[in-house]
Amino acid sequence: MPKEPLLEVNNIEVRYNEIPAIFDASFKIEAGQIVALVGSNGAGKTTILRTISGLLHNTKGEIKFLGSKIDGQLPHHIAALGISHVPEGRGLFGKLTVVENLLLGAYTRKSELEITETLEEVFQLFPILKERTSQKAETMSGGEQQMLAVARGLMPRPKLLMLDEPSLGLMPTMVDKVMDVIKIISKRGTTILLVEQAVRDALELADKAYVLQNGRTVLEGTGKELLNSGLVKKAYLGI
């Protein structure tokens, strides 16, 4: 029997006010993988992540996490199952401090001791946050806020971490830094769904990748395969 995937998205359709944005998208994520979802602006990447988290609801198809159907459940239930979503635009709580934001990330966890442990781990990954624990999130620079958003996404110790364009607006060295962190997080055992504009970086990192076009998953393969595919080269890498 083949191993059951951690997350399975089967032929979903998602609408905004009756108008479909996702027509037919399917993909699978095995535990331990980094899976990249790439596509041009407006392809529907964010819509898919928001549907997985329960902020939007699919009108067709189904979403399964650890073998059970999760579509139709409320966002806070889905979060409690171990899916952590670092949303587009970061969704930080601007008037709260860095550490308050991080603690909110750990909202679903009970043990103070374990939360403190994770906090230390996160500070190791992002030392800058440790120096800024009592700074208000909104007064941090864009790059610092992005790191805080990723760090907050790690606080629940998720089974699946979904990152929506974590490198958006970062300078190239910072993009590398974010990619490194993703690699480390993955090595420590967290499964990752990565949505990226930096298509090359994402594909180089990914075990598996899917291309989304106009609300449809049109191509899948390993990161390497897609890097070499004609479609990806032409449409996203400008080669």
Binding site: P75, H76, S84, P87, G91, L92, F93, L104, G105
Partner: protein
């Protein structure tokens, strides 16, 4: 003159603390769910009647009644949230405004129907109408004990609420929900429950204020109207959504009303409060401490 003036300031601060607690509840509800609870004063009226009837029918003094009325108002808040407010949270602002306005009218009419329009007053309370004498700056001033108790209790309730919001995990979740509901949901916070909690806490606040008021203030079905108007002004001055803003706004209103009545024509003291309201709205529409974006 100075003795009299100090008396006026004391009076203003005492009333201000009570206005503040009413305003704090209003501000909390607005801050978390963006609903202007125009029925707020009428819940205060219900709290007053609750304490009044406990005293009259069961002989329970308002000081003990506080422990009954406050949780009862919290539960009433839950019920009203579940049956009405949750339906209007996503409705256009005007719909929500009309709904809470209508709820206020309904509660007032209900009170008229059940208890008639009579002015009532509790005699024979534990605190009675005691007055303490204090000397400030060489002069002699008088402080009404029931009023002092109401002000102190209001400040204590405000401080407790502030502590809860700023220092507890649930309070932090309330703040997160207020700032970004979707993002809060992604953290695993049941935001619907946070809305319910904010509304019920807001109503519990007027339960406290209402009960403490029955120790010295008249009780009648329309009593809440003036309070909700003052609370609205206090919240506008302090900034919608801010707890300490509502506190300071409430104190300012109390002082304006009292000092205004002293130096000007007493009949115009409430008009003065609203004049300040207009000035604040023109000069600083977000209020002194507003954090609503």
């Amino acid at each position: 003159m100075s003795e009299l003036f100090i008396q006026v300031v004391i009076e203003g601060l005492l009333w201000g603390a009570i206005y503040a607690l009413v305003a704090v509840g209003l501000s909390l509800i607005w801050g978390v769910m963006g609903i202007l609870n125009l029925a707020h004063g009428d819940f205060l009226m219900l709290g007053m009647f609750g304490a009044y009837w406990l005293a009259i029918l069961l002989g329970i003094d308002p000081l003990i009644g506080l422990l009954i009325v406050t949780p009862a108002m919290f539960i009433l808040g839950l019920g009203i949230y579940k049956s009405l407010i949750t339906r209007i949270v996503k409705a256009p602002r005007l719909t929500a405004l009309l709904a809470t306005f209508g709820l206020g009218i309904f509660l007032r009419n209900l009170a008229h129907f059940l208890w008639r329009a009579d002015y009532r007053m509790l005699g024979d309370t534990l605190v009675g109408d005691r007055v303490i004498t204090v000397s400030i700056l060489g002069g002699t001033n008088f402080i009404s004990v029931p009023k002092l108790l109401a002000a102190g209790g209001s400040l204590a309730a405000t401080a407790l609420l502030y502590w809860f919001i700023k220092r507890t995990k649930t309070g932090r979740a309330l703040q997160a929900t207020a700032m970004n509901r979707q993002s809060a949901a992604l953290m695993g916070i049941d935001t619907e429950r946070m809305y319910m909690l904010a509304y019920s806490l807001g109503i519990a606040c007027v339960g406290v204020a209402g009960t403490l008021l029955t120790n010295f203030f008249i009780i009648f079905p329309e009593v809440g109207i003036m309070f909700v108007l003052f609370a609205l002004v206090a919240v506008t001055i302090g900034g919608f959504g801010s707890i300490h803003g509502a506190l300071i706004g409430g104190l300012i209103i109390g002082l304006i009303e009292s000092v205004g009545g002293f130096v000007g024509i007493p009949a115009l003291k409430q008009a003065l409060v609203f004049a300040v309201f207009v000035i604040v709205v023109v000069l600083r529409p977000r209020g002194l401490f507003g954090w609503a974006d």
